[in-house]
């Protein structure tokens, strides 16, 4: 699985300044959308916020109407999506993106959820999520994420994303995670 840094280095968004991260945030809550948008802007990101997975796919050009995708149409460096949404869930969006046989597959996807459910976290990471953030998301969470992506962009190193923890870990949780990490 390509590291986030590869995506940043190879493909810059069409209308972004060099090194500016463009983040697509997906969530059905008005309040949450406003907060995540502000968190990302304060972290010097360009932000597009949409209210559903359907809109996210439309924005990316993956809604079935575009058959050919080239470098130029890769608009975002990172997708942050709520897990629980009416219609298509964040997990389903994650799967859809990771199943793409194109560069879209390599866009890092971060899942956000208010529920600290071990099996949920595990399946998201197994499906290829870059990270799993417990809501409410804090500025430190976003800064850590964006700093990581920018650093990786400069160094081009691969770091296993599963080792980074952004949620409250009980001993049983961290044990489960080291099991998952060792499997991959």
């Amino acid at each position: 699985m390509a590291a986030a840094g590869d995506v940043l280095r190879q493909i810059l968004p069409e209308d972004g300044a060099a090194g500016e991260l463009h983040v697509l945030a997906v969530g059905d809550s008005h309040v949450d959308r406003k907060v995540i948008e502000r968190l990302l802007k304060i972290s010097s990101c360009k932000v597009t916020v949409v209210e559903s997975e359907t809109r996210a796919l439309q924005f990316l050009g993956l809604d079935g109407e575009n058959c050919s995708i080239d470098f130029d149409s890769l608009k975002v460096n990172l997708i942050m999506t709520d897990y629980s949404m009416p219609g298509m869930t964040g997990y389903e969006l994650l799967k859809k993106i990771k199943q793409e046989s194109s560069l879209f597959r390599e866009i890092p996807v971060v899942i956000m959820s208010s529920e600290n459910i071990l099996t949920r976290i595990a399946s998201c990471l197994e499906e290829g999520a870059e990270d799993f953030l417990l809501k409410p998301v804090k500025l430190s969470d976003v800064k850590r994420l964006t700093d990581f992506m920018r650093d990786e962009g400069m160094k081009g190193e691969k770091i296993c994303p599963k080792r980074r923890r952004s949620y409250d870990c009980t001993p049983s949780l961290s044990t489960a995670f080291s099991l998952i990490s060792h499997q991959s």
């Binding site: 008005h30 949450d32 409410p136 500025l139």
Partner: protein, 151 residues
């Protein structure tokens, strides 16, 4: 009253809201996101939250009035409200939502009805407390002062 006194009132009122559990750390997180480029951020988010609250509480009320009650539908509204209250640091509201969801899971209509009442009560208290806080904030800003924040 001069700026110092308004600031003191603001600080005391905010401190008491934290002490009484109306607000939690997430509210401080919101304040961190406010600066010269977005000077009314907290008020804007809270205003959205108030609109959300009224909408969702109304949805819950209507869902509980159906026969038969679709508890999954009620739960969906409560889950949303739990999310947005957590996002703004509205701790007491969020806690009622947690209990409310348990009653939805158990399909306990009486429990749900009680929670709805509690939710309306907590929301109303929170709203008037926050409006008082924002009123003080506006007095301070009008007098050219800065808002004291809790570290």
């Amino acid at each position: 009253m001069d700026v110092i006194q308004w600031q003191r009132q603001h600080r005391d009122h905010q401190a008491s809201m934290f002490r009484e559990g109306f607000l939690d750390d997430q509210f401080i997180q919101l304040q961190k996101l406010q600066d010269e480029t977005s000077p009314d951020f907290v008020i804007e988010v809270i205003t959205m939250f108030f609109a959300d609250s009224e909408n969702l509480i109304n949805n819950m009320k209507q869902a509980l009035e159906q026969t038969p009650v679709d508890f999954r539908q009620v739960d969906a509204h409560v889950h949303q409200y739990k999310g947005s209250s957590a996002s703004v640091g509205a701790a007491r509201v969020k806690n009622v939502c947690v209990t409310f969801r348990n009653f939805c899971d158990a399909q306990n209509l009486e429990g749900c009805a009680r929670c709805l009442q509690q939710l309306q009560h907590e929301y109303s208290l929170l709203k008037s407390n926050l409006q008082h806080l924002f009123g003080l904030q506006q007095q301070i800003q009008a007098a050219g002062g800065s808002i004291p924040t809790i570290e």
